[in-house]
């Protein structure tokens, strides 16, 4: 098998399946119709989760493996719960306890999981692009990216978009401010593609050291005095200005483990300029939604009062996580054809 397959080929369409794709690697190639299919399905899944008996037989006999090379609570658990509610068999592999510690390559691990009969592998990996590499070596196996390095986290992106849609209905034309360490945030990237597909206006904010240069350079009009990004993306390092009349504010986790990169002088200084607090929130729309992909550093990127306040939709994000992942598994694994029988 040739190892030089373009990323495009991995996104080959599979018309046999309702989602029309084999793998879920990022949201950058999702159409708004595809997003709507998942969201409509998630509504049905939310109804299942509200029942006394949270169990339906739709994925009976399917095998879902989760392979996590990085710690995770909500993503892994929500995938496991989603699979189990749909009656699939879910096998959790902790990478620290797998043969990767004996030096097995990711490619061989992929082949092994496929040979064992897995239908889907849900993978999180510290290196950007790892799920793409796995996808190249899959024949029948499907890959869902549950976060790769700083690149993408498509299922969290779907959760966030679904939560927004739940509260605002139509997202097009709405102003979304994403604030924090954009460069290192795979959530920010995936959200960005999804939000743009749905027609939102996105403003990125945070310290200039945390705004990705590729976005700044592609804009062509970027200057130190701020502003104007590609497409409908705006960049404004001044949060007090960026937050003005925002419909949605998404705070990102300050990745303290990356503090040694010296991207900002002190946490205190970060809080002073980029913390989402009540004073700043007052400048946004009156019914602004506050979101955070979790886990939260309370009192750093967001104050406790805001994180648990009336504008916060953080709990909904966690709750929707299961419904969205159920919808994704269902739509990815079940073939569709024509008529009702």
């Amino acid at each position: 098998m040739s190892t030089k397959i373009e990323a495009q080929e991995l996104k080959e369409k599979d018309p046999m399946y309702s989602l029309g794709r084999k793998h879920v690697l990022d949201l950058d190639d999702f159409s708004s119709e595809e997003l709507e299919t998942i969201f409509s399905s998630a509504d049905a899944m939310a109804e299942v989760m509200s029942r006394d008996i949270k169990k339906v037989p739709s994925l009976r006999g399917k095998i879902i493996m989760t392979l996590f090379y990085e710690p995770s609570t909500r993503t892994r658990v929500s995938f496991e719960q989603a699979g189990k509610v749909l009656s699939a068999d879910v096998i959790n592999l902790a990478a620290s306890a797998s043969s990767s510690t004996k030096g097995e390559s990711l490619i061989n691990t992929t082949r092994t999981l496929e040979a064992m009969g897995a239908d889907v592998v849900v993978v999180r990996h510290p290196h950007s692009g790892a799920p793409y590499l796995m996808a190249r070596y899959c024949d029948r196996l499907r890959v869902i990216n549950a976060g790769d390095g700083r690149h993408a986290h498509p299922t969290q992106g779907l959760v966030d978009l679904y939560t927004v849609r739940q509260h605002l209905g139509d997202v097009s034309g709405k102003k979304v401010v994403i604030v924090g360490d954009i460069t290192h945030s795979r959530v920010a990237r995936s959200n960005l593609w999804g939000l743009l597909a749905m027609g939102a206006r996105v403003t990125l904010s945070g310290p200039a050291t945390m705004i990705p240069m590729d976005l700044l350079e592609n804009s062509g009009t970027y200057s130190k005095n701020n502003n104007k990004g590609i497409g409908d993306i705006e960049i404004d390092t001044n949060l007090d200005r960026a937050i003005d009349s925002a419909d949605i504010v998404m705070a990102l986790r300050l990745q303290l483990e990356r503090q040694e990169l010296s991207l900002f002088p002190t946490i205190r200084e970060y809080c002073k300029y980029w913390q989402v607090n009540e004073t700043r929130l007052a400048k946004a729309k009156q019914n602004v939604l506050v979101m955070h992909p979790g886990p939260i550093n309370e009192g750093i990127e967001i104050t406790s009062a805001v994180a648990h306040g009336i504008h916060s939709r953080i709990k909904d994000q966690v709750k929707n996580g299961v419904a969205i992942r159920m919808a994704l598994l269902q739509e990815l694994l079940l073939p569709k054809t024509g008529d009702d029988v």
């Binding site: 309702s18 299919t37 409509s40 399905s41 509504d43 049905a44 899944m45 939310a46 109804e47 299942v48 029942r51 008996i53 169990k55 339906v56 037989p57 739709s58 749909l86 919808a327 269902q330 079940l334 073939p335 569709k336 054809t337 024509g338 008529d339 009702d340 029988v341």
Partner: protein, 182 residues
């Protein structure tokens, strides 16, 4: 590509469809089980407006309010390769335990949809009795399922298609038979 199929043959028009639904509504009321605990469950997509229409007819003649629910059986299908509905809809189910549940659907064919619907219903509660009302019974059952209330029996060949069009979804009321030439 497909050779264009023959013009669909109209088997029921707006009037005869309405008359059939009126008759089904009356038959549901006439049984000895009683209509006090009656719940109508429409199967997505066309069963839902049909259940609403039958409920309205019962309400008019008997002056009782009949709870109507909707059921998407997409999560309960056994035939994964044949006929998975393109997008799932949320089910809305009233209390079912100890109720008389009538499943309402447009066409009864293999019976697999109804089997899936019964599985779903049993996950929601334990009805006293489950019955089935359909506008068209076209035969070719693959399971031991028999409707309790039928609008019209239409003998068909497997290649033919039956379409029940409803104003709520298709802008007109009719039942059509189509030869499926591919």
């Amino acid at each position: 590509m497909n050779i264009p199929s023959k013009q669909p043959m109209r088997i029921m028009d707006e009037e005869s469809l309405d008359r059939a639904l009126t008759r089904i509504a009356h038959e549901i009321c006439e049984t000895s089980i009683g209509i006090n605990s009656l719940v109508l469950l429409g199967v997505h997509t066309r069963g839902v407006p049909l259940a609403r229409r039958i409920a309205r007819k019962i309400e008019l003649s008997e002056s009782v309010v009949v709870p109507v629910g909707s059921l998407d059986i997409g999560l309960y299908r056994d035939d994964l390769s044949a006929g998975y509905s393109p997008s799932l809809k949320a089910s809305k189910i009233p209390e079912l335990t100890n109720k008389r549940v009538v499943i309402v659907d447009d066409v009864l064919f293999t019976g697999r949809t109804i089997r899936a619907a019964m599985d779903a219903i049993i996950d929601f509660g334990r009805p006293q009795v489950i019955q089935l009302a359909v506008v068209v019974d076209r035969g070719h059952r693959e399971l031991p399922i028999k409707p309790d209330y039928v609008g019209k029996n239409i003998p068909t060949s497997v290649d033919q298609k039956i379409r029940v069009a409803l104003t709520e979804i298709d802008t007109f009321d009719a039942v059509e038979l189509k030869e499926d030439i591919e």
